[in-house]
């Protein structure tokens, strides 16, 4: 009896070992599995969900045109929740369980910063079309992005404000990597020019800003910079600024430049300024994207600055796979050779530090609409 049990055990072990080892070589003819990390729940889902749709649209287009070398692309979407911990687990799953070689994401800088070490350890290429924290510049050879660093946003805003004669700026900043990055970039440049910055930080799900705003207001600053991670948070802050009856020059970051938000607070935001990585509506690929998005999802293309980079990221990745094959390390090296690649976001060049070449430009809000700031 015991002998039979041992026989069964040996058979099972050999069979399991065979099955596991047999899986090691990648199925060369199956679909190419790419990972995606972005905020699909929470306040930041306002960005994450449309960008997931843009990626799905691009993948559909590429697959319809024959895929990559005959293989179809398939995306595994994971929820990063705009949070380091959730993004780290998502990255773990994609790298170790799904065994992807490339991940498009994160959107929030917190997501990317948390996923970079995991992707690097698994030799997986992490390509972000949305993370803008200056801390991501040159962080790792496996990371690259086609969205510019906020070092540019902070600098542009500091230059614009100083030129307008402001010397004292108050920040209300969410305690997350992206808003912190903008604050640090702004403060560095503004202090260099001779200005002063004060800030109040708040944790993400805060709803009561009255005392923080009262404190900042008491310092009589020349301007208030609303530096939040999401439009929802900026909405809560602006509502309380309005209720406190505080009339001052308001500045926003590009995450808060949501047209719905600008319309809602049109009176309060008259003359407010922000900097964004703009988009060119006359770019033919961009126009094609906008039309295709509207046709497929029955709504106008939102967050144009990000949608264009998300769209491009899929195509850039596809071109990389065609050029060097689907392998993380090779893709990460290849992407740094991309020069003047024509995309929906313009001519894309990625530098040796993984950052895209290009930057932000200033906008002013007049009559409820954002227009370029003539300088």
């Amino acid at each position: 009896m015991k002998a039979i049990v041992w026989l069964i055990v040996i058979v099972v072990v050999i069979w399991a070992g065979w099955a596991l080892l047999d899986k090691a070589p990648e199925a060369e003819a199956g679909p190419i599995m790419i990972g995606f990390i972005g905020p699909l729940t929470g306040d930041a889902a306002a960005y994450g969900e449309p960008e997931r749709d843009v990626v799905a649209l691009a993948v559909e287009e590429i697959n319809a045109a024959g895929g990559i070398n005959g293989r179809q692309i398939s995306v595994i979407y994971e929820d990063g929740k705009c949070d380091g911990t959730a993004s780290a687990s998502a990255a773990q799953k994609l790298v170790n369980v799904d065994k992807v070689q490339a991940i498009i994401g994160g959107f929030c800088s917190s997501e990317s910063l948390a996923a970079v070490p995991i992707a690097a350890a698994g030799k997986v290429f992490l390509f972000s079309p949305g993370s803008s924290s200056p801390d991501l510049t040159g962080i790792n050879q496996f990371f690259a992005r086609n969205y510019p660093s906020d070092a540019s946003q902070g600098r542009v805003m500091a230059d614009v404000l100083y030129a307008k004669g402001m010397r004292n700026v108050a920040f209300i900043q969410e305690s997350k990597d992206y808003p912190l990055g903008i604050f640090k970039a702004f403060q560095a440049r503004f202090a260099e020019l001779g200005g002063e910055v004060v800030k109040e930080e708040f944790p993400t799900d805060s709803t009561d800003f009255r005392t923080s705003l009262t404190k900042l207001k008491a310092g009589k600053p020349d301007a208030l910079f609303v530096d939040a991670q999401t439009p929802a948070a900026a909405d809560r802050i602006l509502q309380q600024v309005q209720e406190l009856g505080w009339k001052t020059q308001i500045l926003l970051n590009d995450a808060a430049s949501d047209p719905a938000l600008i319309t809602k607070y049109a009176k309060l935001l008259e003359g407010a300024m922000f900097a964004e990585f703009g988009y060119d509506a006359t770019n033919s690929k961009f126009a094609a994207l906008a039309t295709a998005y509207k046709a497929k999802y029955a709504t106008d293309l939102p967050w144009q600055s990000y949608s264009q980079t998300y769209y491009d990221s899929v195509y850039i990745l596809a071109e990389g796979i065609k050029a060097v094959g689907y392998e993380g390390e090779k893709l990460a090296t290849w992407v740094r050779t991309v020069k003047d690649w024509p995309g929906a976001s313009g001519n894309v060049s990625i530098g040796s530090d993984g950052d895209v070449v290009g930057g932000h430009s200033a906008r002013v809000i007049m009559d409820g609409k954002a227009t370029p700031l003539g300088q």
Partner: protein, 288 residues
Amino acid sequence: MEIFVQLLLNGLIAGSLYSLLAIGFNLFYGTVKFFDLAFGTIALVGSYATLSFLKNLDLPLLISVMGGILVGAVLNVIIYKLVYVPIRARKGSNMVLLVTSLGVFTILQSLLAILFSSQFQTLRSAGYVPHIFHIYGASVTSVQVLMIALAVLVPIVMHFILKRTKFGRAVRAIGDNEEVASIVGINTSKVIGGVFFISAALSGLAGIMNGLDRGIEPYMGLALLLKGIIAAIVGGIGYLWGGVLGGFVLGLIENFGTWYLPSEWKDAIAFVVLIIFLIFRPRGILSK
């Protein structure tokens, strides 16, 4: 001067929310003596019910608010009958009831997130800007004035109910000693059901006012519960006016505290106050 008045108002506004929560918490904790972790989320159930009435059924504000409070209160009574009564009948310890309430809390929170999405939503109708009053240079909105007024009126009404009505006497009797109360002929099950109803109504009111002033999202339940508990402990646990006092004390300390400290320490201040009270005066400021 203007800043001091603004901070005072900020403290009163926050304090009124905490007071309403603490009153509801003290009512049922004083009676059944266990922590109901779902307390904060029940407040959200009422708020989301109001949101549905307002946005999906287009009912007027007052009716939606009352309907929302009713929904939250009835749900709490149903949970009491289905979940807590059987456990208490089997003489389940307070630890068991606490863990059960954790389960209820998790289920309710997830249901709310599934039904209403985890986005932050406001109960205000689009475009509604509340009237702003200016006092000595400080600003306060009509919604906030109403919150402070309720935080004063509700305890007065509750005091009357507890001291002058038969129901109130039964509640106090059960709070003193449940076994003796049932021996002398009080229908403890029914009275405790009533307690669950009223405490959920109070927390629902608090949640709705907060939703009108700022907004709601499904994961706020725990934060509301914790603030309510801190306010109740600081002011005097199980005691009506203790909850009121604790709520306002907490609100004022938080807001004056963030004047001197960076504002990300706001929640930390609340917990430091709690720890100080637990060490030096666990009974709270007032006691029965």
